[in-house]
């Protein structure tokens, strides 16, 4: 599997990339440029996408450094500050939901927990669930999609019907039912850990058909292409064709789908926490904060606005970035 088959790799794999390069680069830039480089150059020109990307990176940094930042401002997400809450109305005493130098985004009604610290920790949950469930979906979707597209026949029929079924499945209801029957401790996890694990698995599981359908379609169109024929005629095995010929050409759509899927997953996590089947108290989550803000939308609107804006910014940033990546990787794109 090593020496004799080395040759086709060098020739076939870059072929698609080269096509793209030729199509887009103008005549004087004759020197070969890789797909990634071309994409990056296009992305650099897309200011909105770049802005989205920068926000995404900032969010990731915030999530990873949440404990450090919370420490810097001297706030614990679970500490009660009931002296800042009006006992009669249960709402923060200060204006704008109790925003002050100590509490940058104010405090929660009833118990006075610091909203800034809870938003930071909430980012951890949102991004963790958003990313990991996207990874689960992409891995499953790519493997099953490529198998269905490449082998066709009964494999394709089975995988396609399963995808159809899953797409029609009411996933939100299923997760709600599943979470309520889940044991409190499993696989060495307990409490919120179990919930996060289940959410990642289930959101990922119900997300793979979206990736699977695209990958299958791409594979179907590519398996008849000349470079695959060439590899086959040189005696390449199925696995070789799958992983060395087809997969590299699927990377672009897969990346695009991943970036588009993450914001959807973040929203699903927020919805689940909103419905009370997400993380467990006292763990902070944006959806859970929105849910408890309902009772105070009139008297303490900031409590609802802040997690809402956090979700909005995150989803918008991922979508802008995802759009940019798609445009950049699309060989037929006009930009």
């Amino acid at each position: 599997m090593t020496a004799p088959l080395h040759e086709p790799t060098a020739e076939a794999a870059p072929s698609a990339a080269e096509e793209a390069a030729v199509a887009s680069a103008d005549a004087k830039a004759v020197q070969g440029r890789s797909l990634g480089r071309i994409a990056w150059e296009r992305l650099k020109r897309d200011k909105l996408a770049l802005a989205g990307g920068v926000v995404v990176i900032i969010l990731i940094v915030i999530a990873v450094l949440a404990p450090v930042i919370a420490n810097l401002v001297g706030q614990d997400p679970d500490a009660y500050h009931e002296n800042l809450v009006d006992p009669l109305f249960s709402t923060p005493t200060g204006s704008l939901g109790g925003i002050s130098g100590d509490h940058l985004l104010g405090v929660e009604p009833v118990n006075g927990r610091d909203i800034f610290a809870r938003i930071l920790y909430g980012a951890q949950i949102s991004l963790l669930v958003g990313f990991l469930s996207a990874v689960v979906a992409v891995v499953l979707g790519t493997v099953l999609g490529i198998l269905a597209g490449f082998f066709g026949g009964w494999v394709d029929s089975v995988v396609s019907r399963v995808m159809d079924g899953l797409l029609a499945f009411p996933q939100l209801l299923f997760i709600i039912a599943l979470v309520s029957v889940m044991p409190n401790e499993m696989l060495g996890l307990s409490g919120t850990g179990v919930r996060v694990f289940v959410m990642i698995l289930v959101i990922g599981f119900f997300g793979w058909p979206y990736v699977g359908r695209v990958v299958r379609g791409q594979t179907l169109s590519m398996r008849e292409r000349e470079y695959v024929e060439a590899a086959r005629s040189l005696g390449a095995g199925r696995l070789y064709i799958l992983f060395k010929e087809l997969l590299p050409n699927l990377v672009a759509p897969i990346i695009v789908y991943t970036t588009m899927m993450i914001p959807t997953n973040i929203l699903t996590e927020a919805a689940l926490s909103f419905l009370g089947v997400g993380v467990k108290p006292p763990t902070a989550s944006w959806g859970q904060m929105l849910s408890s803000a309902i009772d105070y939308y009139d008297s303490d609107p900031m409590y609802m606005v802040i997690p809402g804006v956090a979700i909005f910014i995150t989803v918008l940033a991922f979508n802008l970035f995802g759009d940019g990546v798609r445009d950049a990787l699309d060989p037929k794109g006009s930009r």
Partner: protein, 595 residues
Amino acid sequence: MTTQRTSGRRKRALAAAAVVAGLLTTAACGGGNGGGSKDGAAGFDAANNKVAQADQVKKGGTLKFVSAQDADSWDTTRGYYGFMWDFSRYYSRQLLTYKTAPGAEGAQLQPDLATDMGQVADGGKTYTFKLRDGVTWEDGKPITSQDIKYGIERVWAQDVLSGGPIYLQQMLDPKNTYKGPYKDTSKDHLGLKAIDTPDAKTIVFHLPQANSDFLQVLAMVTASPVRQDQDTKSKYGLHPFSSGPYKFQSYSPGKNLVLVRNDKWNASSDPVRKAYPDKITLDISTNQADMDQRLIKGDYDLDAGQTGLGPQGRQIALKQHKGNLDNPVSGFIRYAVFPQSVKPFDNLHCRKAVIYAADHVSLQTARGGPIAGGDIGTNMLPPSVAGGEGQKYDPYQIAGANKNGNVDLAKQELKACGQPNGFSTTIAVRNNKQQEVATAESLQAALKKVGITADIYQYDGSQSPGIIGAPGNVAKKKLGIIIMGWGPDFPTVQGYGIPLWDSSYILQSGNNNYALIKDKTIDGLFNQYTSTLDESKKTQIATEIDHKVMEGAYYLPFTFERLLNIRSSRLANVYTTNAYSGYYDFVNLGLKSTK
């Protein structure tokens, strides 16, 4: 172009906002200028334990109730909701009923269909009552002692008429030998041996064992008369045959109920009911926010469910309509309870550690604060129940020195219980109401400070009987702390505490003795209570039972709950009563104007 259009639209919006603001201001002025009197509001707490605006009542008009929930059943045998009991006095009478008086006096009994409080003989085993003259059904026929007996017999037919309290069966026929009127083979279906009706105006009760609260049970709505020829069995709740001043005109379950005057009712035969309005309507509104808004606006006079305003409505009402609010103590106590089947709560010191560790002010805030939540609870007998001492009895200094939690004492107790570094446990809490979860979170945060890690287990409140009410499940899931609330069925220690603290009330499903208390002293005190007829002695025993329960540290009380209810400015003769856990006494409400 775009900008222009936007600015045009903005102008119009501004103009509209200005008009609305203007309207609001004028409306506010109309209400605000005269203070309490001009808009007719009686003032904050004006009807709490006292009668508000009794002299302004006029006969006639339509009294408008609204509720977020329909009654479980309007059938006098089947209803168990507190507001149904309160409301049922409009259309049903019993031998005895609660005095129509505010506060504690309202929990005292007085004769209704009966001429007096009954003749007691045999050391409390026989009760004889004579019926008043002129008491009639809605078709004008007289109410007989047989009608009362038949109404009581229906309690035995739990297979057809489920849902209501069964105290009558437990006291008159504890072995449940009678099969109920529908399976009764005797010709008149009056086969229950414990009740004699020697003539149409005399009724005699024979108890196998004396029970000092028997009169309380006779005043419950389950003891109402039902006439055999009008008994539609399970459909009776759709149109109960009236013995009171009002009768059903129309009823659509879950939508609305209209009562109109029963012209066959003789005011002279009824010492209790004043029957001021001509018509009483009850609309069911499933949207709490909308309902609160209409109550605040005065479209409705009262919330029949007496569940209090939602968070939004509460704030608006407290800020703008405080004069329409009352803040009475309800009979409810909110608490956490420690099942002894879950380690380490089998150990007294571990239970005490949790009580000392808890931040009681924080728990009160989580329940809604001093007004919407209630006063910090210090013991387990509601202040509205005879023998309840309120915050005067505070063995753990819950509302005193330890009100913000006492970490040192908690750690001492942990040491004494053999868990110096704390332990981990699970708090079970209903997820239906945010306040419940908020108390669980507060407890969790406070316990963390002494090294007790608590996981919060949320469940659907309607599943309570099978989840926290099943001791097997509690032990299996290790639910060491259960958050619950409880109110009395009738305002005595028996009506409140027997299901919670008596060892014979431990059930395999639907259990309410969550702590699994098996204390011979407490059981003995309950036996002593039921056989004591002297009122002051009864009160003393009630206090003693409460002390024993608190000494066992089975419970961590959160609040002596308060209600925050709104009454419209149209209402007159309004007051809250301990008979119905601090609800308004519906039966004698009147209107100031008949329009």
